[in-house]
Amino acid sequence: MLSRRSVLAGVAGVAGAVAVPAWAQFRVEISGVGATQLPISIVKFRDEDRAGQAISAIVRADLERSGVFRIVEGGGALDETSQPSWTEWRGRGSDALAAGSTTRLADGRFDVRFKLWDVVKGTEVAGQSNAVQPPDLRLAAHRIADTIYEKLTGEKGVFSTRIAYVTRGGGRFTLRVADADGEGGQVALNSAEPIISPAWSPNGRELAYVSFESQKAVVYTQDVATGNRRIVANFRGSNSAPAWSPDSQTLAVTLSRESGSQIFLMGRDGENVRRLTTSQAIDTEPVFAPDGRTIYFVSDRGGSPQIYKVGIGGGAVERVTFGGTYNISPAISPDGRTMAFISRSGNAFRLHTQDLGAGGQPNAITDTNDDESPSFAPNGRLIIYATRAQGRDVLMTTTLDGKIKARLASAAADVREPVWGPFGR
């Protein structure tokens, strides 16, 4: 295990500008510079061109997007069997170095190998070999990035996790599941009618969402691997805003069946429906705190939409946001300490974070005007959200301090409502 301290030892200061990345085919557009970024070099893997996936470029883009790493270019031919020249790599300013290879096996699989070195100490940190089917080569690259991230930071990486989002184009609405870098998207649902509010089940196997295919808002769950769908809330009026409890057994939803939009709890199959909030106002966008005992939600009971919280057993409702007149779409970090939400200031809808401890203040972490739908990465280090850029709906990731942002790849269609899946797949 490489201590963070030894890697950081070489970081006297960080350059004020980030070079345009050479792996531009991934359209990772980084803006901003973090306070402490580890300089790392990822050499092109031997024979990766023959594998059909730019393994090293995927790893580099992942690490850069995390905000924790700064990529140091340079290289030459290296693989996991090489003995790097420490003086040379120290001269380039790299504190860590990874190299590897892809070898086609007789059965059609690829053996993807890599090694990670601590350049400062001149020692080996990690080495792996994985034989994968060709369609899993991107996943293999993301797992390498996860290993590097974990070895060098001590925290789990999120690069091999998945995201879901909705695209609109050509008169169709499509719910897609993609790698966390936005690539490799696969269609989960195609519809002529709108789809909103996708939510991953905590085990990553199902998505709950709202579909308007029957000319009204109805909540469905869908098994991602099999495509099996089930209606879980189709009451009179609108059914929307599904949220899973951490144990996957309960769904919180917004129903208008008793008139007015109010929050209800139900079993995961739609059974045992009970009303949670009882106001004359709009109550919606429920989300469970990680402990499963508290629900954060949006209500305009005070005259403007604000974020509140209430126990899952009901009872006293406590207001959480006080600044401004429009605070919506709460997302709670996995450690329960930070809330991301959208706050309106003038005509700008901007992503904010707020410490959930006593006295936490809202903090704008973007300077864009149409931010929507924040969702935390499962390690709590990044937030994915939708915004508008060059007249299109796009997805961005940002570090919690707002210093490192990356625009995710997307095809021609407008893309919105991102939601980050859990660890594992």
Binding site: P194, I196, K216, T254, S261, I282, T284, P305, Y326, I342
Partner: protein
């Protein structure tokens, strides 16, 4: 009442011919409803047709892309527009709501969906709830005007199905609406 109905049918036929809707199939026993226009308020009786909230220059649009299978119901005005951040059914749309309510009262088998919509500003879910509030306001007005609660379902599309594209007040004003759709 029978007399008024006959006159009104004639008015509609005339209007359709004038509008060039020669291909529109007309149902001869369309249950047209009285709007309070007096038999004497024909062409030339200036200013005499405002009692029921309609005017002589009113043109009721027929949308052939929606709801035409519903026959007479498609002849009713179907859209109620709202002010920014408001759920109040304005007086100018009272005739629209009333005409639809009376059609429901006249035929208890008839069903209608009131679909609330918002402009594009703000979140998807909060807008869905705002649209629901608009739809429920219209639905409640209709029940007060004689429709049965069970005939109406208030639903919302939030900002997901704008009537017009655009990001200015003109577009937003057209999108803040409730549509009355026969089901």
């Amino acid at each position: 009442m029978k007399h008024a109905t006959k006159l009104h049918l004639t008015t509609i036929l005339t209007a359709l011919v004038l509008a060039g809707c020669s291909s529109t199939k007309l149902d001869t026993d369309v249950p047209v409803e009285s709007r309070g226009t007096t038999p004497g308020a024909g062409a030339g009786a200036a200013g005499g047709a405002n009692a029921g909230g309609t005017t002589q220059s009113q043109v009721t649009p027929v949308d052939l892309t929606k709801g035409t299978q519903q026959g007479a119901a498609s002849n009713l005005p179907r859209v109620v527009y709202f002010d920014f951040d408001s759920y109040v059914v304005k007086d100018e749309y009272r005739p629209t709501v009333e005409a639809n309510a009376k059609a429901l009262a006249a035929d208890r088998k008839r069903r209608i969906a009131v679909e609330g919509h918002t402009d594009e500003r703000g979140g998807h879910e909060y807008n869905l709830a705002l649209g629901q509030k608009r739809a429920e306001a219209v639905a409640k007005s209709m029940t007060l005007m004689g429709a049965n609660e069970t005939q109406i379902e208030a639903v919302s599309f939030g900002k997901e199905r704008p009537a017009v594209q655009g990001s200015d007040e003109a577009a937003w004003a057209k999108n803040r609406r409730a549509e009355l759709t026969p089901r």
